[in-house]
């Protein structure tokens, strides 16, 4: 009994070293993973696919950070893009103007960090400028988060949402009213105060020619920092205080939680990481920063991810960020609807009648295996069915679906489902092939299904919200679904044997 108390006391206290180690070890492993990803993956994909992979990472940072306010603390913020833009513009202006004033032009600085001789593989000087600028951008965004957090002292629900919306729009308008950018050193030297104030951030035309430092490595290194921070925060006393505010603000106060202070903290944390995401975006190849990046459309993209993933779930937000970003790109090819329907069908069948982890693993791994085969061009058998070529992979997916339905003793529904999906997808495809152009008298309207991808995307979101209003993972984390840990606690509870 006494030793139990001591054990528990020890587990609560924990020396600072193990606590630091538990945070640092996963972080170092993840950053190492990011470096390896950059090394192996970056070489074998084209610029388009690399761009999508970076977009996924940026979406993860944005979603996981917004989750701290909307998910953990239960405050409804719809101005996240404001923090994103603040971080992006601040960091972009720093790298652009610092590089220009020191090196004469705003280009990538590849000078090695030769002073640090024992580490020859360290990133070059320019990359450190980028990281410094990103952190500064994050800090300025965090300052903005503090200012936006202050009104949330009194406001709840819709009212707070309006304040945050206003913040994003203020950012957008201020950026539109900024001065034009300086494109060379001379104009920078000759500039008067009137050219510097308001700051030369490119006005409504956007801020261009920022050195392109963002790589897969930096994106996923920042993702790693964000994920580890969000996870550690959720496990900490601060995180519990945030969750208690979401659950019951009055009761949280009664526990001694300074509700005001913690709400502001949530905003500051979220804004910092949104600022980092903005910095990554600003330095991404092919990006022009525009005032619209602070607008509410981008905020809503992030909110959709958080809601779809499940409020407060880190893994849910990550999963939804990956799914939605990839899907928006993937649907550019309308034939992908076919696969999408089958994926959803498989997931749906596997998740009935209860969340079945093992089936999902089987389906997930077989889908990955099949997609890899396809990418490598293996088993490329195809034969005509109705009007189009059906490949072996599509057949395998359909078979998988039927097998699962049989295992579920729900054959009829399974067959009907497959038949329905196939019929609908084939009909759409057949129509698209047969009538590429719709004629109304003399006018011809080209019918490009790819143009309607956002409609399909929106329909999918609607159906997810109807069938799973709590989001993909609800309030849980993905590992809570593992069979052995169904009732595992989110915090480390001491093992106390019952008497």
């Amino acid at each position: 009994m006494k030793s139990q108390i001591q054990d528990h006391a020890r587990s609560l206290r924990g020396s600072s070293l193990p606590a630091l180690a538990t945070a640092m070890i996963p972080l170092i492993l993840l950053i190492f993973g990011a470096a390896k990803l950059d090394e192996f993956v970056a070489a074998s994909f084209d610029r388009y696919h690399l761009r999508v992979m970076m977009d996924v990472g940026i979406a993860i940072v944005l979603a996981v950070s917004l989750n701290i306010v909307n998910g953990y603390t239960g405050q409804f913020s719809i101005g996240h893009a404001g923090f994103f833009a603040v971080g992006g513009y601040v960091s972009a202006a720093l790298t652009y103007y610092v590089t220009m004033s020191v090196w004469g032009e705003a280009i990538l600085i590849e000078t090695p960090v030769s002073a640090l001789w024992p580490f020859p593989h360290l990133p070059p000087v320019g990359a450190w400028i980028f990281v410094g600028a990103a952190i500064l951008g994050g800090l300025v965004a965090a300052g903005a988060g503090y200012l936006v957090g202050l009104p949330s002292l009194r406001l709840r629900g819709d009212y707070l949402a309006i304040v945050t919306l206003g913040f994003g729009e203020i950012c957008r308008v201020l950026l539109e009213r900024s001065n034009p950018q300086f494109f060379d050193v001379d104009s920078m030297r000759e500039a008067t105060v009137a050219d510097w104030l308001p700051l030369p951030l490119g006005s409504a035309q956007g801020f261009t020619d920022v050195p392109k430092y963002t790589s897969l490595f930096w994106v996923y290194a920042f993702v790693a920092v964000t994920l580890v921070f969000a996870y550690r925060l959720k496990q900490s006393a601060t995180g519990r205080a945030l969750l208690s505010i979401r659950e019951d603000e009055t009761a949280a106060q009664a526990m001694g939680v300074n509700v005001t202070l913690y709400k502001v903290r949530a905003f500051v944390f979220a804004a910092f990481f949104a600022g980092l995401a903005g910095a990554l975006y600003a330095h991404q190849p092919g990006t022009i920063l525009r005032p619209l990046d602070a607008g509410f459309m981008r905020s809503f993209d992030v909110i959709i991810i958080v809601v779809l993933g499940g409020m407060g779930s880190i893994s849910g937000a990550t999963l939804a960020a990956v799914l939605l970003t990839v899907m928006a790109e993937w649907l550019r090819d309308p034939t992908h609807v076919w696969y999408l329907a089958l994926y959803i069908g498989l997931a749906r069948v596997a998740l009935t009648p209860r969340d079945n982890w093992r089936d999902l693993v089987v389906i997930g791994s077989s889908a990955v295996a099949l997609e890899s085969c396809r990418a490598a061009g293996l088993f490329a058998l195809s034969f005509p069915l109705l009007s189009v070529q059906v490949t072996g992979y599509e057949l395998v997916y359909a078979t998988l679906l039927v097998v699962f339905c049989i295992l579920r003793k729900d054959v009829l529904r399974g067959v009907l489902f497959v038949a329905g999906v196939v019929a609908f997808a084939e009909l759409v495809r057949w129509l698209a092939l047969k009538y590429p152009v719709v004629r109304f008298g003399p006018t011809e309207i080209p019918l490009r299904l790819g143009d309607y991808r956002m409609v399909i995307y929106a329909l999918l979101l609607v159906s997810v919200m109807i069938f799973r209003p709590q989001g993909l993972l609800g309030l849980k984390e993905i590992w809570d679904f593992l069979p052995s840990r169904r009732h595992a606690p989110r915090t480390a509870a001491p093992r106390v044997s019952g008497r």
């Binding site: 108390i5 006391a9 969750l243 106060q253 309030l475 915090t491």
Partner: protein
Amino acid sequence: MPLLEVRDLCVKYGAIPALHGLSLSVEAGQIVTLIGCNGAGKTTTLRTISGLLRPSGGSITFNGAPIHTLSTDGIVRLGIAQAPEGRGIFGNLTVDENLSLGAFARRDRAGIAKDREWALQLFPRLRERLRQNAGTLSGGEQQMLAIARSVLARPRLLLLDEPSLGLAPQIVQTIFHIIRTIREERGTTILLVEQNAHMALHTADYAYVLEVGRIAMHGPAARLAASDAVRKAYLGVA
């Protein structure tokens, strides 16, 4: 000097007065109960003491120092914990996390571990359900959790708001038994707000009867329980 002294307390909801000049005092180590009908102002009194409502007049002193200008978390830090009305359980957090939040204002980890063990001894049901979401507990268990959670703040004064609300008679007995145990084992002073006058007067040392925002009667609980007025109005005895 009493541990808690409330003097001429006035509280308004907008323009509508809820308390007009309420005074009461709680001696250290006592269980004091505040009984009265619906709308008499019992919960308002507790919420004002804990800083969730601001008084429009009067004063509250705890341990000799005025507290009616402090924030709720400041008051919790001084040693006044409460189990709020309607239990205020964090339904989507585990029982264990709820208990940790009870000790939120404390920094002495060894002391928290010890108190946690003690609270789980008081409520063995909670030990069985440590990893369950608090929202899945039964009403009685939630009330137990609310009390256990407030005890973990190691308060000098514990405010309990209607711990018997909506519970089966047998569980009410258990809860009141535990309230007495907390006072006996910890010496915690308890201010108990109740509609169940019978159980409250049976448990408390001293009682105040509240009628529409004023103290109508007060005295040792046993004496009030025997008085005709209280027996008629609150104990349902003709």
